[in-house]
Amino acid sequence: MKVIVPVKRVLDFNVKVRVKADQSGLDLANVKMSMNPFDEIAVEEAVLLKERGVASEVVAVSCGSQLCQETLRTALAIGADRAILVETGAELQPLAVAKLLKAIAEQERPTLVVMGKQAIDDDANQTGQMLAQMLGWPQATFASKVQVSGATATVTREVDGGLETVEISLPAVVTTDLRLNQPRYVTLPNIMKAKKKPLAIVTPASLGVDCAPRLSLLKVSEPAQRKAGIQVADVAQLVDKLRNEARVLP
């Protein structure tokens, strides 16, 4: 069974982002970039499926600039077998990424696409679901547990009211949530091995996909800042403030 894992290069989750003063965008110069944490979880899950003998091959895919090769090499170091970069310098929005992934899926014919539920930069939470719709496949989003048996997968999902377990036919798209697994540390020997694994580069044109963005970004602004707060000395003072100053106690 072949598994495809799309991965995205994003601002590292520890970095506090800065909005440019002219509100034209974000100040991303010289900031640390990493694989989207949810995609790391997806790669780990695919590799676990391979180690369990369920998956035979794990293919990592990324869409964007040449720098995404770094992200793909990380996926290879975690345990993916080969990688594909869909190279473009253009801005890619989820609808376009889903179309690119659909073209790849039609070529590669995977049984499962496992990907992060959202990217921590745009927080869109769309691409996996869009891809599933375009392929006519079922989806299981926000997965905290995945079991594959034969022609179906049983997935536990984290939803607003608790947990939901669904059985979906394969092929399918699964998007990962935080607690699906704990990604392994990438070892130096695996990083070295990853350099020799195949990494193919294709273009949106070669896949026949129109990637033009649909949404125009008019401005990026900072959210309203909270007023500075105070330290209270003890519980009595806290209760007094909440009751008489903030007036939030029932």
């Binding site: 601002l11 982002v17 989820p94 609808l95 889903a98 959202q118 921590i120 930069d121 927080d123 869109a124 939470n125 769309q126 691409t127 996996g128 679901q129 891809l131 599933a132 719709q133 375009m134 079922p138 989806q139 926000f142 905290s144 999902r157 984290e158 607003d160 009211g161 608790g162 947990l163 939901e164 377990t165 669904v166 059985e167 979906i168 949530d177 935080l178 607690r179 649909r214 949404l215 125009s216 970004l217 008019l218 401005k219 990026v220 602004s221 900072e222 959210p223 909270r226 707060g229 105070i230 330290q231 209270v232 519980v235 806290l238 209760v239 403030k241 909440l242 939030v248 106690l249 029932p250």
Partner: protein, 311 residues
């Protein structure tokens, strides 16, 4: 222009998040608003939806294959009903987030996720980078597919009843079936709607402590219980208590962050609360930067003292 709002419900009652979504639809000033109630045995929900203030029609699609509100079947239905609507809205809940991108892809349009404000019928504001920035985006697509951050729009009440129209159900694609559900049962208010949230982090040390220290306080304040990712990962609280960038986003009148350090991703889920209290033994904890009132000290002494002081 006209708007289709996808109602969220459990086949028996309409969920409040639908009221907030209708409010967003009104803010869009995009013409007449219709509400779609798709489910199984849910005629009563359509009657409730019909009374939402400001809408022109409730549409009912009742079939067994909509019972679980699964995205595949619902997206096919909405695609068939989408003609004539310029806007399709759903709440940014796990239901809406799961469903709407399939609708957008089916219609070959972009989706605008989790709007917090409307500037015009084609321009919306949404949070990015865990809410550390706000993006103002404009869509030129013929249909705007949108999910709504419900805490940003005050819910509509009831008005006079609009007509309810039944439509034939769409296909049963048979791609997915629900095999089980585990819901956290509680007498406390729901996290998404509560006026007061008592939230615990890793500092509580164990699930037993989480319950024994926080439950009396939550009961005293008639508050909902929330948790940081660290607390949920450690098993102190169930996953649906998680507040944060990828958990629930809440904006109560009072948020008490207890033993929570205040990571960027947690702040994303609660920094719009009106009043924030932080209780933590680490004076350098980032949570104090957003707190209106901070109390440095041992939560195991402070919280029980607070609970009795609220007598």
């Amino acid at each position: 222009m006209s708007v289709l709002v996808i109602a969220e419900h459990d086949n028996h009652a309409l969920k409040n998040v639908t009221r907030h979504t209708v409010a967003a639809a009104l803010a869009a000033r995009a013409g007449e608003i219709h509400v779609l109630v798709a489910g199984s045995g849910c005629a009563a929900v359509a009657e409730q939806a019909a009374k939402l203030d400001g809408i022109a029609k409730a549409t009912l699609a009742d079939a067994a294959h909509y019972a679980d509100h699964a995205a595949e079947n619902l997206a096919a239905l909405i695609e068939s009903l989408a003609g004539g609507y310029s806007h399709i809205l759903a709440p940014a809940t796990s239901f809406g987030k799961n469903l709407m991108p399939r609708v957008a892809a089916a219609l070959d349009v972009a989706q605008i996720s989790e709007i917090v404000a409307v500037e015009s019928p084609d321009t919306f504001v949404r949070p990015i980078y865990a809410g550390n920035a706000l993006a103002t985006v404009q869509s030129n697509d013929a249909v705007k597919v949108i999910t709504v951050r419900t805490t940003s729009f005050d819910p509509v009440g009831d008005g006079s009843a609009a007509p309810v129209e039944s439509v034939a159900p769409g296909p049963d694609l048979q791609l997915s079936r629900l095999v089980g559900r585990e819901s956290t049962k509680s007498d406390r208010p729901e996290l998404a709607d509560a006026r007061i949230v008592v939230s615990g982090g890793r500092g509580l040390g164990s699930g037993e402590n989480y319950r024994s220290v926080l439950e009396p306080l939550a009961a005293r304040l008639n508050a909902a219980l929330g948790a940081s990712r660290a607390a949920v990962d450690a098993g102190f609280a169930p996953n649906d208590y998680q507040v944060g960038q990828t958990g629930k986003v809440v904006a109560p009148g009072l948020y008490l962050a207890i033993g929570i350090s205040g990571a960027i991703q947690h702040l994303a889920g609660m920094k719009d609360s009106k009043v924030i209290v932080a209780i933590n033994k680490d004076p350098e904890a980032p949570i104090f930067q957003v707190a209106d009132y901070g109390l440095v000290g041992d939560l195991f002494e402070i919280v029980p003292a607070l609970t009795s002081a609220l007598g």
